[in-house]
């Protein structure tokens, strides 16, 4: 349940971290719960639990649809926190990062939101629309409660800002390899591997790479390039979105898929 411990342990084992990313409540809270349990049981090392938002500007079509479905199902931020608390009670031990667009946090109040997140059992926050320049207050409030505010770096991030981000970051760095939004892609872009190298030179913080990862081969080459782990999101949502009438029926496939990704994290040379 300790983020740094989990990542440290994986690094010691020479293994990459796998963090599946799921928007909670898509298409229903009960399915999300089963999905999270499946992910935890199929090799996930950490979980990214997204709170659905009305205007997810950093997300692509798959996750936009996820958010829309979750919101139509009436899911609120409070529901997401309660669900996490429930999973903890059940015994879920993996580190969990809560993803929330900034207005959800701002609307609740920064301190209140952090407090609730901590109590529900989260280890950190990911805020897709909060660059480091705007993050000061949330960094303070999160740290005060032992939460990591995960910062992102992208191919467009300048050297100067990279320095600043690395300086403020804790837990891990979220490395966004592509220019664009979330969404499964067929190929990794060369810019991704380059970026890992650039960041690696600056910091020993774990680097988790996200956006566009959909295959074990992707995972393997990212780890080879120096990443400490991968985030896989849309590729999972894509699987159950194909059978929305009966999403549970896709859980075995998702489990296989996650296992195969996890397998790739172990193949690190």
């Amino acid at each position: 349940m300790e983020l740094e411990a989990t990542l440290g342990e994986l690094r010691r084992r020479g293994e990459g971290a796998l963090m599946p990313h799921v928007y909670f409540g898509d298409p229903s809270p009960s399915f999300s719960l089963r999905l999270l349990r499946t992910l935890a049981g199929s090799g996930a090392d950490l979980l990214e639990l997204g709170i659905p938002f009305s205007d997810p500007i950093a997300d692509g079509p798959t996750f936009i649809a996820s958010c829309e479905r979750a919101l139509s199902a009436g899911v609120t931020p409070r529901d997401c926190l309660k669900a996490l608390a429930g999973l903890r009670e059940e015994g879920l031990r993996l580190p969990v990062l809560l993803t929330a667009y900034y207005n959800l946090i701002f609307s609740r109040g920064l301190a209140e939101f952090c407090e609730e997140a901590r109590r529900a059992g989260a280890q950190g926050l990911i805020v897709p629309d909060l660059p480091v320049e705007e993050a000061g207050e949330l960094l303070r409030e999160a740290r005060r409660r032992g939460l990591h505010l995960i910062l992102q770096v992208t191919p467009t991030t300048s050297e100067r800002r990279l320095g600043r981000i690395v300086g403020e970051a804790s837990g891990f760095l979220y490395v966004i390899g592509v220019e664009g939004v979330t969404g499964a892609r067929e190929e990794l872009e060369p810019s991704t591997l380059e970026l890992i190298g650039r960041v690696r030179r600056l910091t020993s913080l774990p680097l988790l790479v996200g956006f566009g990862i959909s295959r074990p081969e992707h995972v393997a080459s990212l780890l080879r390039a120096g990443a400490d782990g991968c985030v896989v999101g849309s590729a999972i949502a894509r699987i159950y979105s194909e059978r929305l009438e009966e999403p549970e029926s896709t859980l075995p496939r998702i489990s296989d898929f996650v296992r195969s990704l996890k397998g790739a994290t172990r193949r690190k040379t």
């Binding site: 205007d55 997300d59 992208t154 467009t156």
Partner: protein, 391 residues
């Protein structure tokens, strides 16, 4: 307005990390290029000869008789394309060109801003892609055709409710993909810093002209200026040069929609609270959890749940009075303005007129009141005819 990019607590730059660099470059380029004499010269010529500036300040006798005030209309409807939008797009298109961009992307609701972007793109020589909510494309079909004729690619937005808010989101997403070659030509005083500042600066030409014209006409400043708005670009354009003149009352008229009840309005100052959307902290329609609520008004150009950071700030500190007009008042104001002045206002613009016509308690007899006549209503012709004549 302490911090750069902040208006009081409003504003900021709440965007994906991937966009920060583009915003910093834009800020730097604007600060460097905009004040330069060549840029000013080139923009000045385009504003004069292409856009048709200065626009007149028209003493509207019919409306004056009706209201008992000396009503002036600042004729932004006469700008090429039919609204104030071109003031902004010409400036940003020039900027983008000088920054070496090859393409403009933007979003549009009423179509006026998309049209103005397509025009500016053609004048300056940049490709243009316009994101437009699928519902707005239906409602403003003639502007879609105009944009297509001008060679712009119009991309339908089907996410969310298929309206302006969703189009902004999709344009931001596309910009995240393409910001190295592409400029996002923001259409109003919204979005992350430096957009609100750039757009307000470019639109301020309205107020500078207005100030000179009213001084020449009346020998004094106006008692009040009334402007409609959502993001606030036409209002800030008119207001900015008067902010220090505390005796000039400034009214910002938002879309009241059908009523001030939940989900029937776009009146964010009445029904919203501060929140973060599309990169900035601003007055925002949202539910208790911070989910953004869709706005509702018959005026596509006012149909946005957020008020830009600067107008949010000015209303918060009391310098600008936020008011609203209901749809039915707006249609009636269209009818009256057609009959009394021979001018067909845009539905957006008619909000400002409706407020003036329906709030005699705000204006003393003989006061000098300027309405920023932000656009013409040709684009709304079908909607207006259907509403007024049922066919």
């Amino acid at each position: 307005m302490a911090l750069k990019g902040r208006f009081g607590r409003f504003g900021g730059r709440y965007v994906s990390e991937v966009l920060v660099q583009a915003l910093e470059e834009l800020e730097e380029a604007f600060e460097r290029l905009y004040p330069s004499p060549e840029f000013q010269r080139e923009l000045g010529i385009l504003l004069r000869d292409y856009a048709g500036r200065p626009t007149p300040l028209y003493h509207a006798r019919g409306l004056s008789e009706l209201t008992g005030c000396r009503v002036y209309l600042k004729r932004e409807d006469l700008v090429t394309g039919g609204s104030h939008k071109l003031n902004n797009t010409l400036g940003q298109a020039l900027l983008a060109k000088r920054m070496g961009k090859t393409r403009l992307i933007t979003e549009t609701a009423a179509g006026q801003h998309g049209l103005a972007t397509a025009m500016a793109g053609n004048v300056v020589g940049l490709e243009v892609e316009v994101f437009m909510g699928i519902k707005d494309m239906e409602r403003q079909a003639s502007n879609v055709k105009r944009m297509q004729l001008l060679g712009a690619k119009v991309t339908p937005v089907t996410t969310g409710s298929g309206v302006l808010k969703d189009a902004v989101s999709d344009t931001l997403r596309e910009w995240a993909r393409s910001s190295r070659t592409t400029h996002y030509l923001m259409g109003s005083t919204v979005g992350p810093h430096p957009f609100p500042e750039i757009v307000a600066t470019l639109q301020s030409v309205i107020g500078r002209e207005l100030r000179e014209q009213i001084l020449e006409r009346e020998g004094r400043l106006p008692d009040a200026i009334v402007a409609c708005g959502s993001g606030g670009s036409n209002a800030l354009g008119a207001f900015r040069p008067f902010l220090e003149d505390r005796r000039v009352r400034l009214y910002f008229v938002e879309g009241g929609g059908e009523s001030l009840e939940a989900d029937n309005s776009a009146a964010a100052f009445q029904l919203g609270r501060p929140g973060v959307l599309h990169g900035a902290l601003m007055q925002l329609l949202q539910d208790e959890h911070g989910q953004v609520k869709p706005s509702k008004t018959r005026a596509a150009g006012l149909n946005y749940p957020g008020r830009g950071p600067e107008i949010s700030y000015l209303c918060e500190v009391g310098r600008v009075k936020p008011v609203y007009a209901f749809d039915r008042e707006v249609f009636e104001a269209v009818r009256i303005t057609c009959r009394k002045e021979g001018l067909l206002p845009a539905l957006e613009t008619a909000h400002a007129l409706a407020f003036l016509l329906n709030h005699p308690e705000e204006f003393d007899r003989g006061e000098v009141v300027v309405v920023n006549f932000s656009g013409r209503g040709d684009k709304d012709l079908e909607t207006i005819m259907r509403h007024l004549y049922g066919a």
